[in-house]
Protein backbone atom coordinates (compact mmCIF):
# COMPACT_ATOMS: atom_id res chain seq x y z
CA UNK A 1 0.00 0.00 0.00
CA UNK A 2 1.33 3.42 -0.96
CA UNK A 3 2.25 5.78 1.85
CA UNK A 4 -0.59 8.03 2.87
CA UNK A 5 -0.26 11.65 1.92
CA UNK A 6 -2.31 14.79 2.31
CA UNK A 7 -2.29 18.01 0.35
CA UNK A 8 -3.44 21.24 1.96
CA UNK A 9 -4.02 24.56 0.23
CA UNK A 10 -3.64 27.53 2.56
CA UNK A 11 -4.54 31.13 1.75
CA UNK A 12 -4.65 33.14 4.97
CA UNK A 13 -1.69 35.42 5.79
CA UNK A 14 0.02 35.05 9.17
CA UNK A 15 -1.63 36.42 12.33
CA UNK A 16 -4.99 37.00 10.62
CA UNK A 17 -7.06 33.90 11.18
CA UNK A 18 -7.42 30.90 13.47
CA UNK A 19 -7.42 28.90 10.22
CA UNK A 20 -3.63 29.03 10.29
CA UNK A 21 -3.40 27.56 13.78
CA UNK A 22 -5.77 24.74 12.88
CA UNK A 23 -3.92 24.06 9.63
CA UNK A 24 -0.56 23.86 11.42
CA UNK A 25 -2.08 21.52 14.01
CA UNK A 26 -3.44 19.27 11.25
CA UNK A 27 -0.04 19.25 9.53
CA UNK A 28 1.77 18.51 12.80
CA UNK A 29 -0.56 15.65 13.66
CA UNK A 30 -0.31 14.11 10.19
CA UNK A 31 3.50 14.31 10.12
CA UNK A 32 3.73 12.68 13.55
CA UNK A 33 1.59 9.84 12.21
CA UNK A 34 4.10 9.37 9.38
CA UNK A 35 1.77 10.82 6.76
CA UNK A 36 3.46 12.88 4.06
CA UNK A 37 2.01 16.37 3.74
CA UNK A 38 2.15 18.78 0.83
CA UNK A 39 1.26 22.40 1.43
CA UNK A 40 0.47 24.77 -1.38
CA UNK A 41 0.61 28.26 0.10
CA UNK A 42 -1.38 30.68 -2.00
CA UNK A 43 -2.07 34.42 -1.73
CA UNK A 44 -1.17 35.78 1.74
CA UNK A 45 -0.19 32.35 3.03
CA UNK A 46 3.16 32.70 1.22
CA UNK A 47 4.13 35.02 4.08
CA UNK A 48 3.74 32.26 6.68
CA UNK A 49 7.37 31.06 6.32
CA UNK A 50 8.91 34.53 5.91
CA UNK A 51 12.34 34.55 7.53
CA UNK A 52 12.07 38.26 8.35
CA UNK A 53 9.36 37.69 10.96
CA UNK A 54 10.53 38.85 14.39
CA UNK A 55 9.05 38.08 17.78
CA UNK A 56 8.13 41.10 19.86
CA UNK A 57 7.81 42.22 23.44
CA UNK A 58 4.41 42.91 24.97
CA UNK A 59 4.32 46.48 26.32
CA UNK A 60 0.82 45.98 27.74
CA UNK A 61 2.02 43.16 29.98
CA UNK A 62 5.47 44.67 30.37
CA UNK A 63 7.19 41.52 29.15
CA UNK A 64 10.41 41.37 27.17
CA UNK A 65 10.89 39.56 23.88
CA UNK A 66 12.39 36.62 25.75
CA UNK A 67 9.66 36.52 28.38
CA UNK A 68 6.91 36.82 25.83
CA UNK A 69 8.37 34.00 23.67
CA UNK A 70 6.03 35.12 20.90
CA UNK A 71 5.39 32.29 18.47
CA UNK A 72 6.01 33.06 14.82
CA UNK A 73 4.63 31.05 11.94
CA UNK A 74 8.11 30.80 10.38
CA UNK A 75 9.31 29.01 13.53
CA UNK A 76 6.42 26.54 13.46
CA UNK A 77 7.04 25.79 9.78
CA UNK A 78 10.80 25.42 10.26
CA UNK A 79 10.20 22.83 12.99
CA UNK A 80 7.65 20.95 10.88
CA UNK A 81 10.11 20.87 7.96
CA UNK A 82 12.63 19.07 10.19
CA UNK A 83 10.34 16.07 10.74
CA UNK A 84 11.73 13.18 8.74
CA UNK A 85 15.31 14.46 8.80
CA UNK A 86 17.04 14.02 5.43
CA UNK A 87 13.73 12.89 3.93
CA UNK A 88 11.34 15.59 5.18
CA UNK A 89 7.72 14.49 5.38
CA UNK A 90 6.56 18.04 4.71
CA UNK A 91 6.75 19.51 1.23
CA UNK A 92 5.93 23.23 1.44
CA UNK A 93 5.43 25.05 -1.88
CA UNK A 94 4.84 28.79 -2.05
CA UNK A 95 2.96 30.14 -5.07
CA UNK A 96 5.59 31.97 -7.11
CA UNK A 97 3.32 34.70 -8.46
CA UNK A 98 1.97 35.39 -4.95
CA UNK A 99 5.55 35.58 -3.66
CA UNK A 100 6.56 38.08 -6.34
CA UNK A 101 3.50 40.25 -5.75
CA UNK A 102 4.33 40.48 -2.06
CA UNK A 103 8.11 40.48 -2.30
CA UNK A 104 7.97 37.53 0.08
CA UNK A 105 11.20 35.96 -1.15
CA UNK A 106 13.22 35.53 2.03
CA UNK A 107 11.71 32.34 3.41
CA UNK A 108 12.98 29.68 5.80
CA UNK A 109 15.09 26.80 4.52
CA UNK A 110 13.16 24.02 2.83
CA UNK A 111 10.34 26.11 1.38
CA UNK A 112 10.00 25.71 -2.40
CA UNK A 113 8.53 27.85 -5.13
CA UNK A 114 5.84 26.55 -7.46
CA UNK A 115 2.61 27.20 -9.27
CA UNK A 116 -0.98 25.94 -9.27
CA UNK A 117 0.31 23.23 -11.62
CA UNK A 118 2.27 21.77 -8.68
CA UNK A 119 -0.84 22.02 -6.51
CA UNK A 120 -2.81 19.99 -9.04
CA UNK A 121 -0.07 17.37 -9.27
CA UNK A 122 0.25 17.13 -5.49
CA UNK A 123 -3.52 16.79 -5.11
CA UNK A 124 -3.73 14.10 -7.78
CA UNK A 125 -0.98 12.09 -6.07
CA UNK A 126 -2.38 12.46 -2.56
CA UNK A 127 -4.71 10.33 -0.50
CA UNK A 128 -6.76 13.42 0.13
CA UNK A 129 -6.80 17.18 -0.33
CA UNK A 130 -8.10 19.90 1.94
CA UNK A 131 -8.55 23.45 0.74
CA UNK A 132 -8.71 26.02 3.55
CA UNK A 133 -9.94 29.24 1.96
CA UNK A 134 -10.04 32.70 3.45
CA UNK A 135 -13.42 33.49 4.95
Amino acid sequence: MAQQSLTLALMDPPYESANTTTALRIIDSALKKGIRVNVFAYEGAVCLPLKDQAPHANPVKGTTVEEEDHPTTKKFISELLKIGGDDPLLNWVNCGLCVDERGAINVVEGVKRGSPKEFLEMAQASTNTLVIPTK
Binding site: A18, R25, I132
Partner: protein
Protein backbone atom coordinates in the same frame (compact mmCIF):
# COMPACT_ATOMS: atom_id res chain seq x y z
CA UNK B 1 -19.72 5.47 -1.68
CA UNK B 2 -17.79 8.45 -0.37
CA UNK B 3 -17.66 9.48 3.25
CA UNK B 4 -17.98 13.20 3.75
CA UNK B 5 -16.08 15.27 6.28
CA UNK B 6 -17.22 18.81 6.85
CA UNK B 7 -14.83 20.92 8.91
CA UNK B 8 -16.95 23.73 10.28
CA UNK B 9 -14.91 26.71 11.48
CA UNK B 10 -17.60 29.37 11.53
CA UNK B 11 -19.66 30.61 14.45
CA UNK B 12 -23.25 29.64 13.57
CA UNK B 13 -24.57 32.72 15.38
CA UNK B 14 -22.36 35.00 13.30
CA UNK B 15 -22.50 33.27 9.94
CA UNK B 16 -25.93 32.45 8.60
CA UNK B 17 -24.25 30.35 5.96
CA UNK B 18 -23.70 27.70 8.63
CA UNK B 19 -27.04 26.53 7.24
CA UNK B 20 -25.06 25.37 4.23
CA UNK B 21 -23.53 22.69 6.40
CA UNK B 22 -26.90 21.61 7.79
CA UNK B 23 -28.58 21.32 4.43
CA UNK B 24 -25.70 19.71 2.59
CA UNK B 25 -24.69 17.28 5.34
CA UNK B 26 -28.29 16.21 5.89
CA UNK B 27 -28.90 15.68 2.17
CA UNK B 28 -25.75 13.59 1.81
CA UNK B 29 -26.70 11.49 4.83
CA UNK B 30 -30.18 10.94 3.39
CA UNK B 31 -28.50 9.69 0.22
CA UNK B 32 -26.75 7.02 2.26
CA UNK B 33 -23.30 8.54 2.75
CA UNK B 34 -21.50 8.54 6.06
CA UNK B 35 -21.16 12.17 7.10
CA UNK B 36 -19.09 13.71 9.87
CA UNK B 37 -19.18 17.36 10.88
CA UNK B 38 -16.02 18.25 12.80
CA UNK B 39 -16.34 21.57 14.62
CA UNK B 40 -13.21 23.68 14.95
CA UNK B 41 -12.46 27.25 16.03
CA UNK B 42 -15.67 29.27 16.53
CA UNK B 43 -17.63 26.42 14.98
CA UNK B 44 -17.81 24.90 18.46
CA UNK B 45 -19.86 27.82 19.80
CA UNK B 46 -23.12 26.16 18.77
CA UNK B 47 -22.26 22.98 20.66
CA UNK B 48 -23.44 24.07 24.11
CA UNK B 49 -26.66 22.29 25.03
CA UNK B 50 -28.11 25.61 26.21
CA UNK B 51 -27.38 27.29 22.86
CA UNK B 52 -30.67 28.50 21.41
CA UNK B 53 -31.40 27.72 17.82
CA UNK B 54 -28.35 25.54 17.27
CA UNK B 55 -28.50 23.53 14.09
CA UNK B 56 -26.51 20.68 15.57
CA UNK B 57 -29.29 18.63 17.18
CA UNK B 58 -31.05 18.45 13.83
CA UNK B 59 -27.87 17.22 12.20
CA UNK B 60 -27.50 14.52 14.83
CA UNK B 61 -31.14 13.49 14.42
CA UNK B 62 -30.47 12.96 10.72
CA UNK B 63 -27.61 10.58 11.49
CA UNK B 64 -24.64 12.89 11.03
CA UNK B 65 -21.70 12.28 13.37
CA UNK B 66 -20.75 15.41 15.33
CA UNK B 67 -17.25 15.90 16.72
CA UNK B 68 -15.78 19.01 18.34
CA UNK B 69 -12.09 19.93 18.52
CA UNK B 70 -11.09 19.58 22.18
CA UNK B 71 -8.49 22.37 21.75
CA UNK B 72 -11.17 24.79 20.49
CA UNK B 73 -13.51 23.79 23.32
CA UNK B 74 -10.82 24.45 25.94
CA UNK B 75 -9.89 27.79 24.37
CA UNK B 76 -13.51 28.90 24.67
CA UNK B 77 -14.13 27.49 28.13
CA UNK B 78 -16.70 24.96 27.00
CA UNK B 79 -16.69 21.97 29.34
CA UNK B 80 -17.68 18.46 28.35
CA UNK B 81 -20.77 18.56 30.57
CA UNK B 82 -21.98 21.68 28.75
CA UNK B 83 -22.06 19.98 25.36
CA UNK B 84 -25.06 18.68 23.51
CA UNK B 85 -25.04 14.92 24.11
CA UNK B 86 -24.78 14.44 20.36
CA UNK B 87 -21.46 16.29 20.20
CA UNK B 88 -18.36 14.34 21.21
CA UNK B 89 -15.04 16.04 21.98
CA UNK B 90 -12.26 14.80 19.70
CA UNK B 91 -8.59 15.51 19.13
CA UNK B 92 -7.02 16.90 15.98
CA UNK B 93 -5.51 13.42 15.56
CA UNK B 94 -9.03 12.05 15.11
CA UNK B 95 -9.64 14.62 12.39
CA UNK B 96 -6.46 13.58 10.59
CA UNK B 97 -7.45 9.90 10.83
CA UNK B 98 -10.70 10.66 8.98
CA UNK B 99 -8.94 12.95 6.52
CA UNK B 100 -6.34 10.32 5.66
CA UNK B 101 -8.97 7.80 4.53
CA UNK B 102 -9.05 7.41 0.74
CA UNK B 103 -12.85 7.38 0.70
CA UNK B 104 -13.19 10.70 2.54
CA UNK B 105 -14.18 13.85 0.73
CA UNK B 106 -13.25 16.82 2.92
CA UNK B 107 -14.86 20.24 2.79
CA UNK B 108 -13.65 23.16 4.90
CA UNK B 109 -16.24 25.76 5.78
Amino acid sequence: MANYLFIESRDPFESRDANFISKTATALRQNGSEVTVFLVQNGVLGARKNARGSHLQGLSDSGVTLLADDFALKERGIRGDELLPAVKPASIDALVDILAEQSTKAIWH
